[in-house]
């Protein structure tokens, strides 16, 4: 009588979880890091033949080895974080701004131009203010252009912002060539006068960068969470139809938000040129504009989580280069080590959202 007809229960089924509790969100992530460290250890031991613990130690040294390394790490952290914060309002509005790289470059260029052409003409404090405003404006313009086209002709913002990066790179290449004149390279700007360089504050070279970005982080948090404009951004992002229904001017919000997003990217360019490099090249943004996309997404657009993620990424990348130089490993091996950690961290997001149910043998026997 217990004759089975057709079909078999599937081996594994994927089931979406309810809202995961705090515990269910933290434990998988911790496990993921541990698992990544174990897999990394196996890789290090069997492929490179090194002692994994020693390698991890060196990696740790990359950020925490000396106070100067730590300050470098902080400097890189705030650069990345600043762009992540810039992307947050755009992404929250579901506007895929992948043009941070270009917006940073334009801000940096505006800063450099001010340093070169106004360097001797203005007192230091005023010069810094002018540089800052110029960078904000340049970045805002670079963010506004794709938003305008999107609002007017519904162009695809992902492609548009991406292509604007290449335009920005070319403009910067052209401008640096003009600025360097007959010299073989541009070198540090205003090397003699140091006009437009950030002074060191409390004995630390990068303190101004850190303070400015921390301030921006808090401002962005409150802007998104408590301001009327921040509220409009959420509504537009969640449902453009609802936004129209309540009479939010969607196009205006689009352009305004991208101006803000671009302006903060531009500000980041200012911090890089005035506070870190004191020069400009096509590599000034250094890929941070793309890495920041990961930062913004992993943090779900919360500026404070962004700080954590930025730290993790900077820690990994500084650790990686430390390993590479200490053991003479090639870059690929190091990339694999950091890649494994990122892979596990991103992969565990799936298990936070879903759970797997395997076929139970027992239920058939029970019948």
């Amino acid at each position: 009588m217990k004759e089975m007809v057709t079909g078999k229960e599937p081996f594994v089924r994927i089931i979406k979880r309810d809202v995961p509790s705090k515990k269910d969100q933290v434990i998988p992530r911790v496990l993921a890091i541990l698992a990544a460290l174990v897999v990394d250890a196996l890789f290090i031991f069997f492929v490179t033949g090194l002692n994994p613990f020693a390698v991890y130690g060196v990696m740790f040294q990359g950020t925490f080895g000396t106070s100067i390394r730590f300050s470098w790490a902080l400097r890189d952290l705030v650069t990345l974080l600043c762009i992540g914060i810039a992307l947050a309002p755009a992404f929250k509005m579901r506007f895929w701004n992948v043009g941070a790289e270009g917006q940073v470059l334009m801000g940096a260029l505006a800063t450099a131009l001010c340093m070169v052409y106004l360097g001797g003409a203005l007192p230091t404090a005023l010069l810094l203010v002018v540089m800052c405003l110029a960078s904000l404006l340049a970045g805002a313009l670079w963010g506004w252009i794709p938003a305008f086209f999107k609002a007017k002709w519904n162009t695809n913002e992902t492609l548009f912002t991406l292509m604007m990066n290449y335009v920005a790179t070319s403009i910067v290449a052209c401008a640096t060539n003009i600025m360097r004149g007959q010299a073989s390279s541009l070198g540090k700007l205003n090397m003699g006068t140091q006009a437009g360089w950030f002074p060191s504050l409390l004995g630390q070279r990068y303190n101004i960068n850190i303070i400015v970005v921390t301030l921006v982080m808090f401002l962005m948090f409150f802007y998104l969470k408590y301001s009327k404009q921040g509220y409009e951004i959420s509504v537009v992002g969640e449902s453009e139809n609802t936004a129209r229904y309540v009479g939010i001017r969607v196009k205006r919000v689009l352009m305004r938000t991208m101006c803000i997003s671009g302006a903060i990217c531009g500000l980041c360019g200012f911090l890089i040129v005035a506070g870190k490099d004191q020069t400009i090249s096509t590599n000034t943004a250094g890929g941070n504009g793309f890495t920041a996309i990961i930062v913004a997404w992993m943090a779900k657009f919360n500026p404070f989580y962004m700080a954590l993620i930025s730290f993790l990424l900077v820690f990994l990348s500084r650790g990686a280069s430390e390993i590479a130089s200490a053991y003479g490993l090639n870059d690929f091996a190091v990339d694999i080590i950091t890649g494994i950690i990122l892979f596990f961290l991103l992969g565990c997001e799936f298990f936070i959202q879903y759970r797997l149910v395997f076929r139970e043998k027992t239920r058939k026997e029970a019948q």
Partner: protein, 511 residues
Amino acid sequence: MEYAVQLKHVTKTFGKVVANKDVSLDVRYGEILSLLGENGSGKTTLMNMLSGIYYPDSGQIFVEGKQVEISAPKDAYALGIGMVHQHFKLVDVFTATENIALGLDKKEKFDQKAVKAKAAAICEKYHFELNLDQKVYEMSVSQKQTLEIVKVLYRGARILILDEPTAVLTPQETEKLFQVIRNMRRDGKSVIIITHKLHEVLEISDRVAILRRGEYIGTVDTKDATESSLTEMMVGEKVELNIDRTEPVNPKKRLSIQNLTVYSREGVKILDDVSFDAFGGEILGIAGVSGNGQKELLEAIAGLQPAAKGSKVRFFGEDQEKPVELLGKSPKQIRDAGIHLAFVPEDRLGMGLVGSMGMIENMMLKSYENGHSFLTDRKTPRELAEQIKEELHVVTPSIQTPVSRLSGGNVQKVLVGREIASSPIVLMTAYAVRGLDINTSYTIYHLLGEQKEKGVAVIYVGEDLDVLLELCDRILVLCGGKVNGIVDGRTTTKEDVGMRMTNLKKGATRQ
């Protein structure tokens, strides 16, 4: 071998939500069984397990006396089980015959002529009216549904499941559908109809099985059942199924729509020269097969839909001599002009509310701009949210919980509550009770009645003719974007409204 299908102790959960709990159900050969229950009571889930879309967590299924495992739709077909879903699964650019041939066993030689001949025989046998050479995109909703049923029969289904088949049909089409269902029963097929319309249950089925919140309540013979006994089993308590319709008091003209014409983005005429007035203190019903311009009509009034030249939508405020033109104004401009126009749109979570936000933030949608501060005021919306939660008995873990996680009825209470709180002069609702349980539906009818008594001009776009006839003072029938008559809700008949919904009269009446 007495039963065609038997479900024994079937349980299915999604996360923490129990969709079906220990459900046992028998279906006989040659009977029409209604599966009755409110939205969210697990009817569709249960049937999806029969048709291989879901797999039960526990419990057994017997088909024609044999225990079976159905883990894919093709297993269900092999067992002679076919389901017609609420949302049709057809390829628009294919003909009826091609759609029937689609997905047939690949081992068979593909012979369209043979397919067509066999399908034609099925149509003949059960009296389906279907043109097998017609492309799906040229078909009406009821023709598409017929095609779906023929498709299922073609595959040799002996057990048919129809998920809310009458939801999209006019009374006349429903009658036709019932006739073919009876023909199928005569042929010995078992038909399961998922529904929540009581009078249809009583009309068509032999037995009624009732589910409530995922649990099986019982099966009764239709001849022993009444509307109120079934409602009681469905809801779990006695429900008063009356709508109070008071006489309109002192009707004042509030809206005057003249020659309203709206084109879609593709340039198709959606509304064609629509004219009517709406008065305070009355409920104006708008009937029509869905997609005949109802949505565009309300959206044009609300400032969301541009209208063609020559159209007029005028609002009459306190000063009846000075109407305000609404066309060309955005929703914000309408609000800023002090015109209290409330609108409960059809797409609750996609337009009226933001699903990922809690009640407080959804209250803010209409008021966030108030005040001069750069920051939003959260105190007033919080109080409003608390008040609506209290007064309308919104079931939610907290007013911070994203509204998309609430049940359909509670979502609608949040939306209607917010719109009524703006003390409207005109209140427009589109399909305000779609998908809601009986209790909530009646709560909404009462709320609309209250607004009417307060002197609000209520416009009610509905699909259930019985309700339209009971609730509304006047009923405007839209057909093909034209006004096909405005009838008195107290004296008209269901048949009259049904006819007007489908057959455009020559020189359609203008008021």
